[in-house]
């Protein structure tokens, strides 16, 4: 049952769209001062958050498959790597768009990225650029044109993107935001486990 659901593209699509719709939910249902006080800020932080969560989630798929090669769930999830990855980019794009509307447009972006560079903005910009390149090169035609090996090498950049996104998220706040551990912690653990597993396999028994 769960496997069937997880294999379904429509189900995954729905899951990916929900965080976007959730934004509208409190507008109608409950009253939250933060939404009225500074609606665009609320929205752009939310989009950034979702982008980070999806990025961290999609990266767990491969290690899950390596660690649990027999699990049908892990296999089902791996069908959706492209979709979830592109969704992360889409939310990052929404984050950036809302940021530009909120913070004074490209003038502010150029100021904070180049005139008086701020590392956490540069990290966001670099993350965004990587996600953009990966999303574009995920078009079927481009994948074929590039060839598997080159494509794979290029898409290793996603790990850099995740590290930069975590940095960006941490330094967006005045104090260390604990949720970063929840978002990126499981991924880090899975990666460590995968590396250990692959090492022990590589060594002759």
């Amino acid at each position: 049952m769960l496997e069937k659901l997880l294999r379904s593209k429509i189900f995954i699509w729905t899951l990916l769209v929900l965080p976007g719709l959730w934004l509208a939910w409190p507008l109608f249902v409950t009253h939250r001062p933060a939404l009225g006080a500074d609606p665009l800020k609320f929205i752009y932080l939310h989009f950034g958050f979702v982008a980070c969560v999806l990025l961290a989630i999609v990266l767990t798929f491969t290690p899950l498959r390596v660690l649990f090669p027999k699990s049908k769930l892990a296999l089902a999830l791996n069908r959706h790597r492209r979709l979830v990855g592109v969704a992360s980019f889409a939310y990052a794009l929404l984050h950036l768009t809302a940021y530009l509307l909120h913070e004074g447009g490209f003038r502010t972006l150029l100021h904070d990225a180049f005139e008086k560079p701020k590392l956490f903005i540069l990290a966001g910009l670099a993350t965004f650029t990587i996600l953009l390149v990966l999303a574009v090169t995920s078009l079927h035609a481009l994948v074929r044109w590039m060839g598997g090996k080159r494509w794979k090498n290029l898409h290793r950049l996603v790990y850099l993107a995740a590290a930069l996104a975590a940095y960006h998220q941490i330094y967006a706040r005045k104090l260390f935001p604990v949720q970063v551990l929840w978002i990126f912690g499981p991924l880090a653990l899975l990666e460590v486990a995968r590396i250990l597993r692959q090492r022990s396999k590589a060594r002759p028994a």
Binding site: P33, A34, G36, A37, D38, T108, H111, K118, A172
Partner: protein, 322 residues
Amino acid sequence: MLIRTPKDWETSAAVTTESHYHARPRREFLRTLGVGLAGAALLRPGSLFAATAGFPPKPNPLYPASALKPTAEEYVTGYNNFYEFGTDKEDPKVQANKGWKTDPWTIELKGLVNHPAKFDVNELIKKIGGIEERIYRFRCVEAWSMVIPWDGFALAKLVALADPKPEAKYLKFTSFQDPKSAIGQREGNLDYPYVEGLRIDEAMNELAFLATGIFGKPLPNQNGSPIRLVTPWKYGFKNIKSIVTVEFTATQPKNTWNIMAANEYGFYANVNPKVDHPRWSQASERIIGGGFLSGRQDTLMFNGYEKQVAALYQGLDLKKNY
């Protein structure tokens, strides 16, 4: 006062005798005026006099209602920083009203003064001679702003009461310490108690204010009940809330955010659009409650109070002393 240059906040012709809280509902008016006597007793048992001390505020002709349009009360009291009660801006309203007691409250004047003393806050207000209202701009270091109608009294009056000795050069403010009531103090998100400081000439400036109310009512817990600092030309974090002691010192006191991150938050914290925060520009600000797209404006030097305070900082390198 002989010749008075017009204040920035009284430039418009919009000085009216009407309430300036834009269509403040009648209901609120009634609450302000009588606090419904019996009702107040019900709401805050045993604090009838405490809760209403000094209200309604006396108008001060030097600070008439101005062109500034106050931010909606709902945002002033429901969207702010008070890390003692959580780091999200929606936290304080919830967390500061779960049994934290701000009444009775004692405030102590000590250090290099001729009249060290401890006062119950309401007695202090009486001794000072009541409270007045001032509408000030408020600029947070996070680049958002509000307009807030404060009730309270000039800090200079408190300084006069304490009668500082000549060696006293600074004021050190300390907030409360009560981890049982304050979730942020239990979590230890900052060094507590929260401390702040001013140079004594800054404290004597006509703008420096101790607030005991907003919107014609006593300060809600989440806004720093029962008494807090308001220095409208400085970033919000200077405005220490729920003050317990004011100590007069010879050396510059430490302040909490400077202890946390000295490269990001200085002692002076003067609003300055030309000096960026290391992680964002301070050139403009988001207007809280300004709507979806229309809520941004350029930040003014000293938050628009240059005339009143610029003289304090002559010869000081504001880039270094941020």
